[in-house]
Structure formats: structure tokens, C-alpha cells
């Protein structure tokens, strides 16, 4: 029995270790050789003996798999905009290095307009800026098809112009497709000997091709301001006589799908009137006349006017009501 116990340790050393590579997300790297040897112990009469088998070897085949994901949510555009980009990521989800062909298509069903591919419609985000910029390399099919290692990815920009005839709320789709240059097809299709190191390349569950579709959203925004006035004279009536007070109310509302950023309302004090100090209000909150941290102020240069910062306005923000008063000189 003693010889058998020593043999146990020898088994570990002999046949190549216990480390399992299960941590690799994609499976074992293509081309890896896996060897296996068996061992037997036995006795003949009183004598113990051992023998080992032949070593069997298998080579890991290469799996062809790719995934395209959209990195930008809906991109807001205006009619007639040019060179508007959608951002995609193309990832090699197989277990060996592979080259991929890229194709874009903007003629798709389900949208209200077809974006017009720009003169160069696919770029690599070479400078990693997350959008189209002068440092980005144009993609030329068959010339600089991206070569990705297992788990590797590349960021791709698809670029379109927006037709002049679109209206607010229109959506236009544009799609990026990537496929493996070694081959695509039904999962399990094998390309004998065409994997890394001469192993077989086999189409994986993605079919070795993938696509993702992004959208442009025509996001127009219109700001409306409706002004009204009420005259209150010093005698309890409503005649516009010198000394009477005019209370102005202005309601500012955004409509459409877009956002007007950093909106500022400004209104001149009418000629022959004098601003009533401290009368400026936004949504019934009094704003100090001096320029300070609150949203409004009253200034006299270059001309007498009230001014209120309204922030970013869109339909969701709701309407803003500004009030101020003047007296008739």
C-alpha cells in the first residue's frame, strides 16, 4: 500500500496539474492543445506495478462569434443637420482572433425618415472621443476591416445627414452590421483548418454576425411667451392715468420634443413708465432687483429692463410665470 500512496502524488505531477481555466469568459483559447494520460496500478502475486497509457491530445477549435451593441441612446437632430454620428461597439465574443467586415444601412422600416449616409459613413473612433472628430479614421471595406482578438472590441461611428423635410418628432433608424470574415452561417458550421494555428473555425451561437440599430430623433423646441396686463389706478379704477400701476404677467411655455437650454427672459420697461422696485416675481416667488444668486434682476443700463433666468425649458418643465409692475409717469 505504501507504493500506492506515493503514487498519488506522482499522478498530480505526471499528468499536468489541476489548474482549471474556467475563469475565461469565452472558453479556452483557440489552438490550445489539451493532453491527457491515464495511469493504472495493479499487483501480480505479491509485487506491485504501475503503467501509464498513451497520451491523447485534442486541439481547441476556434469559435466565430461577434456582438454589435449601440452605445448612444436616441440622438437629437434638426432638419438639415449633417455628419450626425451614432456610436456602436463591435466585440469579438469568440475564442480566437478574427477579422470582421462592417456594413451600415439607413433604409429601414419602422421609422419616419431614412437618414442619408454621409460621404464617408463609417469611421473608427480612433481618438476615443466618443463622437466624430478630426482624429477618427474612415473605414474602407476590405482595406481596414477591424482585426479583434478574443474579447477585443472596437468603437465604430456611423454617420448620416438629416433630410431637410423632417419635422419635430420624426425618427430615423440607421444600422451597423458586423460579420466574421472567416465565415458566417448556422451555428456549428465548420471551416476546416481555418482557425488560428490551423485548427477548425466553427460558427458560434451568434451565427458569427450581429447588428444593432440606432436612431436619430428630430427634436425641435418652440418657446412661446404670452403677455397680459392689468391697470390699477390710484383711485380704485382701471384708467391708465399718470400714477396708475400696470401689472404685467408673462407666461413662458416650451412645446415640442426638444429642450431650450439656458433660457433667459428679458423685457424692457416701457417708455414713460417707471419700474416698481421689488415687483419682479417668478412663479409667485419675489426676486431681488439686484443681480445676485437668485434668478432675476432689474437693470437700468443699457436700458431699463427686467431679466429672469428660466433654466432649461422643455415640455416636461412646465410653464414659467413672470410678473412685474410699472407706474405711469
Amino acid at each position: 500500500m505504501k507504493s500506492l500512496r506515493n503514487c498519488a502524488l506522482a499522478i498530480a505531477a505526471l499528468v499536468g496539474g489541476f489548474g482549471s481555466n474556467r475563469a475565461h469568459a469565452l472558453g479556452v483559447p483557440a489552438g490550445t492543445a489539451i493532453n491527457n494520460t491515464a495511469q493504472v496500478t495493479y499487483s501480480v502475486g505479491t509485487v506491485n506495478a504501475t503503467a501509464t497509457s498513451n497520451t491523447v491530445s485534442v486541439t481547441v477549435a476556434e469559435i466565430l462569434d461577434v456582438v454589435v451593441t449601440l452605445q448612444t441612446p436616441s440622438v437629437p437632430v434638426s432638419a438639415g443637420d449633417t455628419n450626425q454620428d451614432l456610436v456602436y461597439r463591435v466585440t469579438n465574443t469568440g475564442n480566437g482572433p478574427e477579422t470582421f467586415r462592417l456594413v451600415m444601412n439607413s433604409v429601414l422600416a419602422g421609422d419616419q425618415f431614412d437618414p442619408t449616409p454621409s460621404a464617408t459613413s463609417i469611421y473608427f473612433d480612433t481618438d476615443n472621443s466618443g463622437d466624430l472628430s478630426p482624429g477618427d479614421t474612415p473605414y474602407v471595406v476590405g482595406s481596414n476591416d477591424p482585426a479583434l482578438s478574443a474579447d477585443g472590441f472596437v468603437t465604430v461611428l456611423v454617420v448620416n445627414d438629416i433630410p431637410g423635410t423632417v419635422v419635430d418628432g420624426n425618427r430615423g433608424f440607421s444600422r451597423l452590421t458586423a460579420d466574421a470574415r472567416t465565415g458566417t452561417g448556422t451555428p456549428g458550421t465548420a471551416f476546416a483548418g481555418q482557425g488560428v494555428g490551423g485548427t477548425d473555425a466553427v460558427v458560434g451561437t451568434t451565427g458569427a454576425d450581429s447588428e444593432a440599430t440606432g436612431e436619430y430623433l428630430v427634436a425641435g423646441v418652440t418657446i412661446n411667451a404670452v403677455k397680459s396686463q392689468v391697470v390699477v389706478d390710484q383711485f380704485g379704477g382701471n384708467r391708465p392715468v399718470p400714477g396708475a400701476r400696470i401689472n404685467y404677467t408673462i407666461v413662458v411655455t416650451a412645446t415640442g420634443t426638444g429642450t431650450a437650454n439656458t433660457t433667459v427672459f428679458s423685457d424692457n420697461i416701457p417708455a414713460n413708465t417707471t419700474y416698481v422696485p421689488g415687483s419682479l416675481q417668478l412663479n409667485t416667488t419675489t426676486l431681488s432687483d439686484v443681480a445676485d444668486a437668485d434668478a432675476g434682476d432689474f437693470a437700468t443700463t443699457p436700458a431699463a429692463r427686467v431679466r429672469v433666468a428660466l433654466g432649461n425649458l422643455n415640455t416636461a418643465a412646465g410653464s414659467k410665470t413672470i410678473t412685474f409692475a410699472v407706474t405711469i409717469n
Partner: protein, 164 residues
């Protein structure tokens, strides 16, 4: 010290667990060991019937299953006793639960190559506590054959593993 054929086996017993014993064991022992790795595929014949066909495994796709079969053949004129076959689960592969077979054998498993036990008795230490080992954690399989292996007879051990 030893006379006749006994001398040969004594030498094997001394060196077997030290340096690579292949050169000694295979040409001078009573048991020859042969290992085969196969894949199994469903084949539809001309009559539309489906059968499972085995073929030697060469290039294997991650996720697919291989079948490893080890055969111990007694090439002497005397019986061999205490025949025990050990086969590691190959690197980058995971044992498929309940697929180890071997007629007339008791099958045990090991994680560390030292401690072998039946599935319901094999434990691992996990975060300081002992728990039952899972089949996907087995790294070595052992077939302990009952009775003697007669001259000219074979003992067969087999199991399946998935390529990670």
C-alpha cells in the same frame, strides 16, 4: 534478491512513483493501458433512423462533450489483482456528472489528487467550512476494480467531460 520474472516487477515498483516510468512500465508490465478520446454525434441513416456515432476527437469546439475511455489489458499468463485506473479530468475540461462508468469497479473522485471518495462523501473546504464537492469540481477519477483481471482480459473505464 529476486529470481526469474519477479526481478522485473520489483524494479518497476521502486521507480514507478519517481521519475517518468513510461519507458519501464509499458514494455515490461503485465497490464497495458490504452486511452481514447472521442466525440459522439447523432447520425441519420438512409432510412431516417437516428443513431449515435462515435469518432476520434481531434479539434474540439468549446462547449462540446468528449468521451474518454481507458482500457487495461492483461497481457501476461498470470492474473493481475488490485487493478486501479486513475484518470485526471483534462485541463480546461469539466466532468459531466454521473457519466463515469466501469463494470465491476467502485468509482471514486478527488479534487486534490490525494483524497478520493464517493460523490456523497467527497468534501471541499469552502470559506472555512466543509461542504459536499460538486461534480464540476472533480479533477481526478479512480476506478478500483473488484476481483482479478484474468490473463487476456480487459477492464474498461470511461467518463465524459465538457470542453470549457
Amino acid at each position: 534478491m529476486f529470481k526469474g520474472k519477479g526481478k522485473v516487477f520489483a524494479l518497476v515498483a521502486t521507480f514507478a512513483c519517481g521519475i517518468a516510468p513510461q519507458a519501464f512500465a509499458q514494455s515490461q508490465g503485465c497490464v497495458e493501458l490504452k486511452s481514447v478520446v472521442e466525440t459522439e454525434q447523432e447520425v441519420v441513416n438512409a432510412a431516417g433512423q437516428k443513431t449515435l456515432q462515435r469518432a476520434p476527437a481531434n479539434k474540439v469546439v468549446p462547449g462540446s462533450v468528449v468521451i474518454i475511455t481507458v482500457t487495461a489489458n492483461n497481457i501476461c499468463k498470470k492474473p493481475s489483482d488490485n487493478v486501479v485506473i486513475n484518470n485526471p479530468v483534462p485541463d480546461h475540461m469539466t466532468y459531466v456528472a454521473s457519466t463515469a462508468t466501469g463494470q465491476n469497479s467502485d468509482i471514486t473522485f478527488s479534487i486534490d489528487g490525494a483524497k478520493f471518495a464517493a460523490p456523497d462523501q467527497l468534501t471541499v473546504s469552502d470559506a472555512g467550512a466543509a461542504r459536499k464537492a460538486r461534480p464540476d469540481e472533480y479533477r481526478v477519477i479512480r476506478w478500483t476494480f473488484r476481483g482479478a483481471l484474468a490473463p487476456g482480459a480487459s477492464a474498461v473505464a470511461s467518463f465524459r467531460a465538457t470542453l470549457n
